[in-house]
Symmetry: C2
Subunit: 314 residues, 2 copies
Amino acid sequence: MNIALDMMGGDFAPLEAVKGLQLFLSEKQNNLTLTLIGDTEKIRPLLDQYQIDSKSISLFHSEQIIGMHEHPTKAMKEKPQSSIAIGFHLLATSKVDAFISAGNTGAMLVGSLFSIKAIEGISRPAIGAYIPRENGELSLLIDVGLNADCKPENLSQFALLGTLFARHILNFETPRVALINVGEEEGKGNLLCQGAYPLLKENSKLNFIGNIEGRDLLMNKAEIYVCDGFTGNVLLKFAESFYDIIQKRNIRDEFLNRFNFEIYGGVPVLGVNKPVIIGHGISHSGAFNNMIKMAQKMIENNFIEKIKSNFINV
Amino acid sequence: MNIALDMMGGDFAPLEAVKGLQLFLSEKQNNLTLTLIGDTEKIRPLLDQYQIDSKSISLFHSEQIIGMHEHPTKAMKEKPQSSIAIGFHLLATSKVDAFISAGNTGAMLVGSLFSIKAIEGISRPAIGAYIPRENGELSLLIDVGLNADCKPENLSQFALLGTLFARHILNFETPRVALINVGEEEGKGNLLCQGAYPLLKENSKLNFIGNIEGRDLLMNKAEIYVCDGFTGNVLLKFAESFYDIIQKRNIRDEFLNRFNFEIYGGVPVLGVNKPVIIGHGISHSGAFNNMIKMAQKMIENNFIEKIKSNFINV
């Protein structure tokens, strides 16, 4: 197993990536190789300093960096020697089994869609993000940004992608799916929800529990919250800002601390042909550690194959 | 000035409405009449108990009540003697100047749209709700539920309605308008936002500052947040649930307490021909007091006329 890690992505690169690596390697014996992509001159001294075992890693030098605010498509085209472009090249050519970066999100999406591409039968890959529930568990909000405009069929596919992720990665055997809406009754909501509801209800691969409202997201009602990428993105960023304020105001609370989205690592791009994980720009060592673990679990569980088999003839 | 108040609406009716009335009347000398609609047998003893000055009020008996979970259109048709139906009748026939209820929200909307009707030139009335900003001020989120599916033109009208409300009721002279979106740059977002952005930018009656993301809503960036009613409704209910959790966890914080949406009173239906204010089902005395004050201010400032003059030839 070989997992590629972009060492130049995120606000604290490459230091926090190296520290995350150290954490990961210290926790248990791993039978995997980590391909570290980045400026080797900058990375090597840090690897020495943090005593990273050279048997576990392989260095891949990259000349260029895609900045956090660069235009994604343009940057991916003009910077083939960037750590993100190289990561996708290694992944597309099966030199590595997964790719992780906390760099430019747009570039990660461009790479996922155009270099790795959607799994056959999936019209729109999506991004899932964790939402902490009051009971201590996590739900997956999908989509949080890839698809601003959706059709009902897309939401139905997001629901199945989320179900498979919740089952095989989050260990919920029969995860409940809910449609985010403005009311509980069938028939409520915008045209998208009105169209998606019957599709979700009829899909025998889903454990669909119906609509839920904004006020239910933190309750123990479902493991998967389905919505278009516009709604999901606005909701997720709003929740993130809540945590910022809690921090600023020096409020310490176990539940509210779980709104520190950084602790979960990154968000998976679901529906593409290889495991791709996108980290938050502010990722620290713990986030990198968790992203490597998520990638490892996705590979160990043959997660991509499980998605493929569920989308054949769908 | 005559303001009609539904005494039977809300979870704590009619007691909290009476207590709210007492609060309102105790705060300052008012030259207005409050028309109290409800079951007079239930209301009269409470008015005595709370020593409500009979000179300030006029009782209007209603036989029926529309329950919180009744189907709005059906209930409004089948219960013409309900407090909500009577309230709208009094308002439509100019017997009163404003109508307030914490009862069935759907019935309040049906009454607003079909009995009071949209102001000429306004294709879709909307509901505005307060969002507390970190700096202690309030922003208006519009729409939060009347229009699940919107066209760009609707969002532009919401922006102007919000601007007029923020100027004349919230006292912001040149309120800033922001479009809720998934990114800051023009051209970002779903088709609705892509279409609405240029309309907002070109509208000389608006102080449009551009897109804002979910993470900016609690910051001091704008006084009016424009979005479709689906997004607004999900966001508002999510924010409300945050406050519930904060309460449950016994967290006491001045800023977080401002997420107790009840303190603001109710939300105005903007774009209809008369002042209509909808209260939260859980409204207590303070909410009723604030709703009466908001109605009073809307009447005193000729708010409806100001809207009308701004939508002539728009």
